[in-house]
Structure formats: structure tokens, C-alpha cells
């Protein structure tokens, strides 16, 4: 599903944010991406979204080498990847339903398709009853579920969550995790960057640890343990 081959990223200010990264993520996997602030997690995510190009190395997504993608194809690449941010990024003047529908409208989905898909996704994140509410009328956990619904509404193959529980209390974080696990069990690959030890320790998913741009450990806790090369 995802393959990083000897990927390095050096920013213009000469910060080496990623160094010779090799990583494979299989279809349907759930991985935690951990490491202190500045370790290179967001850089990895931005490379995967093709928001930027690596300085060297190759990145494959779903069988395509995305470093080769032309600018015109980038939007279509992004439709295969749902993304959830720490700060939700909801539109305050739109209702829950409208926020989710917006994700479909702007990629040119038809009205009928939207009317069918949005309620399905809202029930998946258990927000059917709040579809006419505005973001400020919701709790943090509910807002994050709206943003998950929007990320999923176009049926992406991969869901990326960049510190999704960063603004949430522990109980809400764990509740939110249950939704992510449910989504993963339905077949979506999930990459979640996080600082949250309690969550990482609580779930026995694979943990990829970065430190100063290097992959320092890659632990599959259901099976064997891989040390970085």
C-alpha cells in the first residue's frame, strides 16, 4: 500500500527532516507514527500527500510511484487519502451534514450520490442525530468525528490522522480510537501520528518511531520486532 524507499527530505533551510527512510505499510494495516516534536512525522505525511517532493528516494502508494505524479494528477491522488488534523478544520458556518457533504461537492460528486453517502458516513461515526448542528454546538470528540466523516466520505484507501487526539481529553481519545479501529476493520489502512503514550500502549498496533528524521524502531506487537537498519 505504502512504500518509502531510501527517502530523504532536506528543507531549503538545510534542515534534514528525514534521513534514508525505508518503510512498508500493507493494505488494511493500522500503524502508529511516533516520535518527539520535530522528528519528521508531518514531513512524512506531507510527502505521502505529495504536498512536497522528497530530496531523494522513491515513494509508492497503491502501486504508483507518487514522486512521478504530474501536478494535474495530485488532486486525484489526494482523493485516495483521507486526512484528519488535530484541530478538526471544520467550517463553522456549515452544519455537520454540510461539512461532510462539502467534501463530496468539491470533487464534483452528484447531488443524488451525496444524499446517499453522507447519511451513511454520519451513521458510521454515530452522528446521525446531530447532522443539523453547527460545529460550535458539538463536543471536541464529536467535532473530530465530523472531520473523520469528511475524510472518509469519498471512500479513500488510506486514512491519515496527524495527532487526532491532541486536543482531546483521555476518555474522549479512547472513544475516538474505537471509531478508527472500526474503520480499519472495514478495510481502510490507517496511519496515525501521535504523542499519546497511553493510547499507543493500550492498542497492540504496529509502532513506527522516528527520531531526528531517522526510523529508530518499527515494532509489530502482534508478532516479531524489527529494529531499524
Amino acid at each position: 500500500m505504502i512504500r518509502f524507499e531510501n527517502v530523504s527530505k532536506i528543507y531549503k533551510n538545510e534542515v534534514g527532516a528525514l534521513k534514508n527512510l525505508d518503510l512498508k505499510v500493507g493494505r488494511g494495516e493500522f500503524i502508529f507514527l511516533v516520535g518527539e516534536s520535530g522528528a519528521g512525522k508531518s514531513t512524512m505525511i506531507n510527502l505521502l500527500l505529495k504536498e512536497m517532493d522528497p530530496t531523494s528516494g522513491c515513494i509508492y502508494f497503491d502501486g504508483r510511484e507518487i514522486t512521478e505524479l504530474s501536478n494535474r494528477k495530485i488532486p486525484y491522488h489526494k482523493r485516495d487519502i483521507g486526512i484528519v488534523y488535530q484541530d478538526f478544520k471544520l467550517l463553522n458556518h456549515k452544519t455537520v451534514y454540510e461539512n461532510v457533504a462539502f467534501g463530496m461537492e468539491v470533487v464534483g460528486a452528484g447531488r443524488k450520490e451525496i444524499q446517499r453517502q453522507v447519511p451513511t458516513i454520519l451513521s458510521l461515526v454515530n452522528l446521525s442525530r446531530k447532522s443539523t448542528r453547527y460545529p460550535h454546538e458539538l463536543s471536541g470528540g464529536e467535532q473530530q468525528r465530523v472531520s473523520i466523516a469528511r475524510a472518509l466520505v469519498n471512500n479513500p484507501k488510506l486514512l491519515i490522522a496527524d495527532e487526532p487526539t491532541g486536543n482531546l481529553d483521555p476518555a474522549t481519545s479512547i472513544e475516538l480510537m474505537e471509531y478508527f479501529i472500526h474503520i480499519c476493520n472495514k478495510g481502510t489502512t490507517i496511519v496515525m501520528s501521535t504523542h499519546d503514550h497511553t493510547i499507543v500502549d493500550r492498542y497492540r498496533f504496529r509502532v513506527v518511531r522516528l527520531s531526528e528524521g531517522e526510523l529508530v524502531s518499527d515494532i509489530r506487537r502482534r508478532g516479531e520486532r524489527h529494529e531499524a537498519i
Binding site: K50, E51, K89, L91, V107, G110, R150
Partner: protein, 302 residues
């Protein structure tokens, strides 16, 4: 894109323009001032050209260049013949030598270049002053029956020269001014659209992250810019055509009503001006809005 979303983009363009009324008014104003000045300059140039064309048929001075192999006596005889024509008021002979001397005088510093000539390449000529421009046709007819003429040139010297000079001055002056004004218009529209873009930054961010195409994201902003451009163009066209329709009256009041007969009729040019203004309005609007959204559409800075 589906029909409904096309309508939606146009509607949103209007709504957004309304939201930033002051900037929208400034945008429309700058476009219409630029196009109005363009229109006035264009009408003057077109009309002066038309006058020049017409006066070319009404000249009062003819210069005939004589063949070099014509002997002195033949030249004198020819002068006598021409002087006797009823259309001719006066006649002036300019010899090759006179012509060269005049040329040297005109060339000033560069006259030395002429010193190296072995032979004088200039012909003898007569300048014929006619009684009136109304005789020009019959005079030409008579002259064309004479032998020994190399070339005939006719003038309404003063008028033509003055008009051409005037339009050329106007042309260079107005081209510069109009280009500057168009740039200013693009800039003002760009700033108006930037406000709209700023107000919808969050939406743009989400559109990009879910994979909306750049074209889709640009759509409403380009529509808004084009609306501003077209409204500006429409306004200036309205003012211009209203002014031109009343120009005859104004000229009569100014005591120069004879010019009116030279004016190009409004039906003849306004269609071209509509097309020109429409194109420029759309172009200015699109350019302004494209430059405004460009920054938002780029990828992350690395």
C-alpha cells in the same frame, strides 16, 4: 462540471463581490476609467484616420517629378502648359540642384553623407498650387495626359501633416497611459479577490485536502473577477456611447460643426468597441483573480 455547479459559481461570484462592496466599486471604477480613456483615444484616432482618408481625395497641391532625360526647353514648355490650366493658381519650379540643397539643409549634421554622391539622384519637379481642392480631380486628369512625368504626388499638406502628427502623439501617449491603467485595474481587482480568497481560506484548505482540482477552487474567484471586469467594461461602454451619440451637438456648440460630417457613424464602430471592451474586461478580471488565488493553490513551501 455540472450545470448546477456552474450556476452556483456565478451566484457565489456575485455574492462575494457584494460582500466586499467598497473594493468591488474601486475595481469596477478602475476598469471603466481605463477602458473609457482607451475608448476616447480610439475614437479620436479612428476619426482622425477617417478625416485623413477623406482629405487625401481633396488636395490642393500637386508635385510632379520630371524625367531626367527632359531637356531644358521641354521643361519650360511644360511649365507654360500647366500654368495655363484653369485649375492652377501658381507654379513653382524646383531644380535637381535646389532639391539637393534643400535636402542637405534638412539633413543638417549628416549632410556630409550627401557630399560623396557622384551624381545628383533627385529629379527636377514642379509644385503646382491649385485654385481649390475642388479642382483636384480635373487637374490630375490633365496632368496624366502629359509626357515626361515620372511621378505625381498630391497633398493637402498642412492639414494632413498636422492630423498625422496629432494622432501619432496621441497614440504613443495613450498607449502608455492605457497600459498603465490596465495594469492598475488588474492590481486592484487582484486585491479585491484577495479579500475574497482570504475570507475563504479555510474552505480552500479543505478543498485542497480532499482533492478538489485547482480549476474547481479557482472557479468562483475567477467568476467574481470577470464579473467586476465586465461591469466595468459595460459602464465605460455606456458612458462612451452616450457621449459619442451627443458629440455632434457638442461640436456644434463649440462652433466646429463642419467636423461633424467627417465623424464615423456610431453604428459603424460601436460593435467593434463592444467586442474590444468585453474582451479586455474579461481579460483584466480573469488576470486579476488568477494572480490573487495563485498563492493559495501552490504546494507547501519546502
Amino acid at each position: 462540471m455540472k450545470r448546477s455547479s456552474g450556476f452556483r459559481q456565478i451566484r457565489e461570484g456575485f455574492i462575494s463581490a457584494w460582500r466586499h462592496k467598497a473594493m468591488s466599486v474601486a475595481s469596477v471604477g478602475s476598469v471603466s476609467v481605463a477602458l473609457l480613456i482607451l475608448g476616447v483615444a480610439l475614437l479620436i484616432v479612428l476619426n482622425v484616420n477617417a478625416v485623413v482618408e477623406k482629405t487625401r481625395e481633396n488636395f490642393d497641391q500637386i508635385q510632379i517629378y520630371l524625367n531626367d532625360d527632359m531637356g531644358y526647353t521641354d521643361v519650360v514648355a511644360m511649365g507654360k502648359t500647366i500654368e495655363a490650366y484653369p485649375e492652377v493658381l501658381s507654379l513653382q519650379f524646383i531644380s535637381k540642384e535646389d532639391a539637393l540643397a534643400e535636402m542637405k539643409a534638412n539633413w543638417g549634421d549628416q549632410a556630409e553623407l550627401l557630399e560623396s554622391l557622384d551624381t545628383n539622384p533627385l529629379p527636377n519637379s514642379y509644385i503646382i498650387q491649385l485654385n481649390s481642392i475642388y479642382y483636384s480631380k480635373s487637374a490630375l486628369l490633365r496632368l496624366s495626359g502629359l509626357g515626361g512625368i515620372e511621378k505625381i504626388r498630391n497633398y493637402n499638406q498642412d492639414m494632413i501633416n498636422r492630423l498625422i502628427e496629432m494622432t501619432e502623439g496621441l497614440r504613443t501617449f495613450s498607449v502608455g497611459l492605457i497600459l498603465a491603467l490596465i495594469l492598475v485595474s488588474v492590481f486592484i481587482i487582484s486585491n479585491t479577490i484577495k479579500l475574497a480568497v482570504e475570507g475563504r481560506k479555510d474552505e480552500i484548505f479543505i478543498m485542497k485536502s480532499v482533492g478538489a482540482t485547482n480549476g474547481f477552487i479557482r472557479g468562483p474567484f475567477v467568476v467574481e473577477g470577470i464579473i467586476l471586469g465586465i461591469v466595468g467594461a459595460g459602464l465605460s461602454f455606456g458612458v462612451l456611447s452616450l457621449g459619442y451619440m451627443n458629440i455632434a451637438e457638442l461640436l456644434e456648440q463649440a462652433g466646429i460643426s463642419f467636423v461633424v460630417s467627417y465623424l464615423i457613424p456610431i453604428e459603424g464602430i460601436m460593435q467593434d468597441i463592444i467586442v474590444l471592451f468585453g474582451t479586455l474586461g474579461i481579460g483584466i478580471g480573469a488576470l486579476g483573480s488568477l494572480s490573487a488565488v495563485k498563492k493559495q493553490l501552490g504546494r507547501k513551501k519546502a
